[in-house]
């Protein structure tokens, strides 16, 4: 058995140690004796997204955004919508998360049309939202806390077609105003928590793996792993954010 993972646009969406998430997923499968293959799909790749069990999209810099949009609008956008409707598990972070929404409007009012797979849009703000932050996912996903680092100037608003991924406990989240963080739709998880999100949130990593395995094999059961170090990193950041919040 092998889980097929697609890393979409690793050449331009790779800003903040995003590779750590892929590394985390493959290692956690490997330690459980489950195989994993990672296919990188850079700009210009024409292979189909069909057949992948899990798609990962990271965050990027503004400099390469036009290169990315050109490629998306050559058909990759329709393919992403189809894969998402088909229940493929997707983790999209920061720029990649915004990209799945309907559009991005800059602070100056310039608008870029995005994929439109998720009912959300993003508007650029003047002030960047930067720092360690923490949110809690709803009970139906496990009710666990997630710690991460956010660094974005875009404010994302969710439409009625998606659920928030979690509620902000410390930090800004989607827009710093409505208390929501990220978005969830079918098996898509979008978040502002960039970089090494999964390694220190093993519950979130396993949630993604369970969803992907369930869709592929009908069973999402995972054997437990020793997460002592991971939880130490997680708990220390939780404690720090709680202290500074008081």
């Amino acid at each position: 058995m092998e889980l097929k993972i697609c890393h979409l646009y690793p050449d331009v969406l790779n800003l903040y140690g995003d590779g750590g998430n892929i590394r985390c997923l493959t290692q956690r499968l490997h330690w459980r004796g489950i195989g994993a293959s990672v296919t990188k799909m850079p700009i210009g790749a024409r292979e189909s997204l069909a057949g992948f069990d899990l798609v990962f999209i990271g965050g990027g810099q503004d400099f390469e955004q036009q290169v990315l949009l050109d490629d998306l609008h050559r058909g990759r956008d329709r393919e992403l919508v189809a894969a998402i409707e088909d229940g493929v598990c997707v983790l999209a972070i920061c720029g990649g998360y915004q990209m799945l929404g309907a559009y991005y409007e800059t602070h100056e009012g310039e608008r870029c049309d995005f994929v439109g797979a998720l009912d959300l849009c993003t508007v650029g703000a003047k002030k960047r939202m930067i720092g360690n932050y923490m949110f809690r996912v709803p009970e139906e996903l496990g009710g666990f806390t997630v710690v991460g680092f956010e660094n974005h100037s875009g404010k994302t608003r969710l439409g009625s077609g998606v659920e928030p991924l979690g509620r902000v406990l410390a930090g800004f989240g989607n827009n710093g105003e409505d208390g929501t963080e990220g978005a969830r739709y079918k098996n898509v998880f979008g978040t502002y928590s960039h970089g090494p999100l999964l390694p220190k949130n093993p519950a979130f990593a396993d949630l993604l793996l369970r969803r992907a395995l369930e869709r592929k094999t009908g069973s999402g059961e995972l054997s437990p792993l020793d997460d002592t170090l991971e939880l130490m990193a997680h708990d220390e950041m939780c404690a720090r954010l709680e202290r500074s919040g008081k």
């Binding site: 050449d11 903040y16 140690g17 750590g20 360690n132 660094n151 020793d226 170090l229 990193a233 220390e236």
Partner: protein, 457 residues
Amino acid sequence: MSFRAFVAICLCKLLRGLSRVLRRGGTAMPGRWALKVCPELLSILARGVKTVAITGTNGKTTTARMIEQAFTEQGKSYFANRSGANLISGITTEFVMNSTLLGKCRKEYAVIECDEAAAVKVFPQLRPQVVVVTNLFRDQLDRYGEVTHTLENIRTALTSLREPITVCLNADCSLTASLRELHHEIRFFGIDRGAVPSGERSELSDASHCIRCKTEYEYDYITYGHLGGYRCPACGYRRPDADYAVTDIPAQTAEGSSIVLRARGKRYLAEVNLPAMYNVYNAIGAVAAVTEMGLGTEAAISAVASFKCGFGRMENFALGRVGAKLMLVKNPAGCNQVLDFLQNVKEKFVLVVCLNDRAADGTDVSWIWDAGFEKLCALSGRLEKVIVSGDRAPDMAVRIKYAGVDPRFVEIERDYEKLVTALESEDRLVCMIPTYTAMLELRETLIRHCGGDEFWV
């Protein structure tokens, strides 16, 4: 000179003296107050001083110290700032401390390291005679933003200097070399094709697409990261020929490199008294700067051969039976170079990694996942223990675990006193790689235990 400037100088000297007596506060605070009193103070003091300024992401401190070594050896009257004082406030303090109360500088030359984001404020007042831009890499995104943003900052800083000066640019860095269009005298330094076997193209390039037209670059060779012989197939933007070029590297060891270089059409054989490829870049950058400052290429070559950096950059300590090396890491590019250096260590060693996330380190520790700690797995047999420390020790431990190192070989020790005490009985080489603020604390502990230079603020 105005009365305001006089008051500012007096205030600055007084505050600096007080902070020394009280052993509190650094070099930044006195300058900050002085600039409040007289905002153009630096420009007044810098008048008549021949200054070389060094900026860029990596290698500023080492390049500056190599240049400084040449000034020392040639018996020049000069002063230099320290890496902890590379913003406008700290630089102003250094100038005040080297000036009379009437604002006359006592030294002929200044060697000034300048933070890449601070250049916009510093350069117009400093009016350097020569500027070196070492390279541009992704660094502390929470503070500097995108790397192209840093590039534009430096471009603005250089554009603001109306009188043409000499600007030495790293030819192998496609971002840095794009500053060539300025009205200044441009000199390029770099490592030529064939000097080293080409490295592999990294997927995590900080500059994969053309700075002019955004087409993906093609490479004739890569030295490391995005540095090398790039060219754009669409618009023709390419690596320029280097005026100061390393043409061959006949030997590279854990102590240093032998290099053949070409400067102004002449060939030289030089020794670089520091290991690793990034120090070859620092050396050729220093050779360019020293030559352009008028001290001569021979003076530069002598300086890079005799130079000892210290202050956490490949600094040696008499710790344990074999000794310890302290190697500062700040970002993925620099960290990868240190990890490459570890591949060349022939003996058994213990690795200490200290990760802090304070303002000077960058508050976002995501970058550790962009550095190839997976290379540690190739060291099995030589690397027998990894100790992690610092404010974000568990994050580092997790990184090393996912790199594939057996967690049983990973220890967490957050108390530097205990860490160094335990390492005193170590019979293997100790390699320590801390981030900036971790380095300051660890180094202090090391000096207390095994001697060494005092912290030079």
